[in-house]
Symmetry: C2
Subunit: 121 residues, 2 copies
DNA sequence: CCCACACCTGCAAGGTTCTGCAGACTTGAA
DNA sequence: TTCAAGTCTGCAGAACCTTGCAGGTGTGGG
């Protein structure tokens, strides 16, 4: 059993885990520090149930870690570098279908690279 | 319409496109240079039809480019850096369930980082 | 030269399996 | 009890694999 097959399967699992718009935004939301589920839900404008469902598999694969404080669960990235790694993938996104709108990517790259949290977009 | 939503959707599409063991091995197989479909199929021990079907979406998203030479189609990576970027993801793979077998990852990292192609594993 | 055949690749249809979402239920804390 | 968070279930949609077939290209016999 070649090691490449095993690892490629695990890599595929990881990528599939990240391959969801909500989860990507969630990870970038946790880029600067831990937050509880409600805060994330508000920031992403999604129901808290959905955030919780997204967090469950991320936690199972050790992408995020949780910490309980009373009735709130605070989540943070296990590997903070994963946020920057994701942003690097913007280089490989096809810009063919967006005539002159590739600035969207540059815009988001700035948002996701800045140290201060953004409030509007 | 926030830019982050648009870009996170495109990023998710890209990640989902890569989230398949065959396609990951395919990309790493093209790391050192272009190859035709039959060669890839032989290297990965998969039917050529399946390789072709994997290549179709990769080509649609400009992950790979093709070149015809006679009755053979040669493929290469549009962004050679994507192979190294994928290998970086090994840092984020959960090693919790592999007691002492994390060396699999290191082994594959060497295979996928070396300049010379490997023949056995 | 011409034509039939073999090879390489891409495309389409089918059946199966997986994934995401929404709603209801359970648990735990205040 | 009230509220927050997690879990479970059913369904709709997408992805995956196999098989069969069509297009295009060289190759060799006549």
């Amino acid at each position: 059993m070649p090691s490449r097959m095993i690892v490629s399967r695990e890599l595929a699992d990881l990528l599939r885990l990240l391959a969801h718009p909500d989860r990507l935004r969630l990870i970038e939301e946790l880029r600067l520090g831990e937050q509880d589920v409600s805060s994330i839900a508000a920031a992403l404008d999604l129901p808290a149930t959905r955030i919780s469902q997204h967090l469950a598999p991320l936690r199972a694969h050790r992408i995020v870690e949780d910490r309980r404080e009373g009735r709130n669960h605070f989540y943070r990235l296990t590997h903070p570098g994963i946020a920057a790694w994701i942003v690097e993938a913007l280089d490989f996104v096809d810009v063919r279908n967006r005539f002159g709108e590739g600035s969207h990517i540059d815009h988001v790259r700035e948002l996701w690279t800045a140290d201060a949290p953004e409030t509007s977009s």
